[in-house]
């Protein structure tokens, strides 16, 4: 699948989460996403960037614009070298949280995306990849 363009953003402090939201918004607009699709992907990005910060102790967000036939899409990859997730099924459940949040970050961002991939190794880190097609 051709990747047209990429951008990597650091996720180290609070303000970086805001920056991720703003860059994802700009990319979603460029890709021609409608207002609801824009809002969904930005919201999912906000949840996952916060996870990187709060649970992973910081990491990166990778933005990629995709083109497959006539389809255009936006793929976002959030990566940290934090403690990892011991039980992926539990982590995906609505309402489950190890922090002080609502436990909607992972499950909610999956619902807001067309494709969702979660990889995690205890002691090494976590990678979440989401794609939204136009």
């Amino acid at each position: 699948m051709p990747v047209l363009r990429t951008e990597t953003l650091p996720v180290r402090v609070d303000a970086d989460v805001v920056m991720v939201r703003q860059r994802v918004r700009a990319w979603a607009v460029e890709q021609g996403f409608g207002l609801v699709d824009q809002t969904k992907i930005i919201t999912a990005a906000s949840e996952l960037a916060r996870n990187v910060l709060v649970h992973g102790g910081g990491g990166t967000a990778l933005l990629e614009s995709l083109s497959e036939g006539t389809r255009k899409g936006l793929r976002l990859t959030f990566e940290d070298r934090g403690p990892g997730i011991p039980d992926l099924n539990l982590a995906m459940k609505d309402g489950f949280t190890t922090g002080s949040g609502l436990g909607l970050g992972l499950s909610g961002s999956k619902r807001l995306s067309n494709e969702f991939d979660l990889q995690s190794t205890v002691g090494e880190g976590t990678r979440v990849m989401i794609t939204r097609w136009k």
Binding site: D14, A15, Q22, K40, I42, S46, E47, L104, S109, L112
Partner: protein, 134 residues
């Protein structure tokens, strides 16, 4: 330090969130509002989110906390101006904002606060007290 302004109008407090808030700014607003409810003897809080193009689980949780805390402090909270795309995204995210009263715009929100105030002050308890005083 950056802060969201809180305006006082009669016995109500008005907040209009015009910036993309990072998490610490949202926490500061929550604390500032709680203090202002007490110091201003406020009976209602109106929060305008018409400028927000994203409400994620963190902001949603903050709104819920503000509503719960103001209720304990004898003040009503109404959230106004939510964009349709934000409402769609919030529900898909899994957040239905239970316990938060909403209105379409500032005018309707103010009406709601005034009505809630009148209902409280002319409730059966106060009315019967008034009669016995006669």
């Amino acid at each position: 330090m950056e802060r969201i302004p809180i305006l006082k109008m009669g016995e109500f407090l008005l907040v209009s969130i015009q910036v993309d808030m990072h998490d610490r700014l949202a926490m500061t607003l929550q604390e500032d509002l709680t203090e202002r409810i007490v110091s201003a003897h406020a009976r209602g809080v109106l929060i305008d989110i018409s400028s927000l193009d994203v409400v994620d689980s963190f902001i949603g949780r903050m709104l819920g906390h503000i509503a719960a805390m103001s209720r304990i402090l004898d003040a009503e909270t109404v959230v106004v101006g939510m964009r349709p795309a934000v409402a769609i995204t919030l529900v898909e995210l899994g957040l239905s904002l239970p316990g938060i009263r909403t209105s379409l715009n500032v005018e309707k929100g103010m009406d709601l606060l005034r009505r809630a105030r009148n209902e409280n002050s002319s409730g059966p308890g106060e009315a019967s007290r008034a009669r016995t005083q006669d």
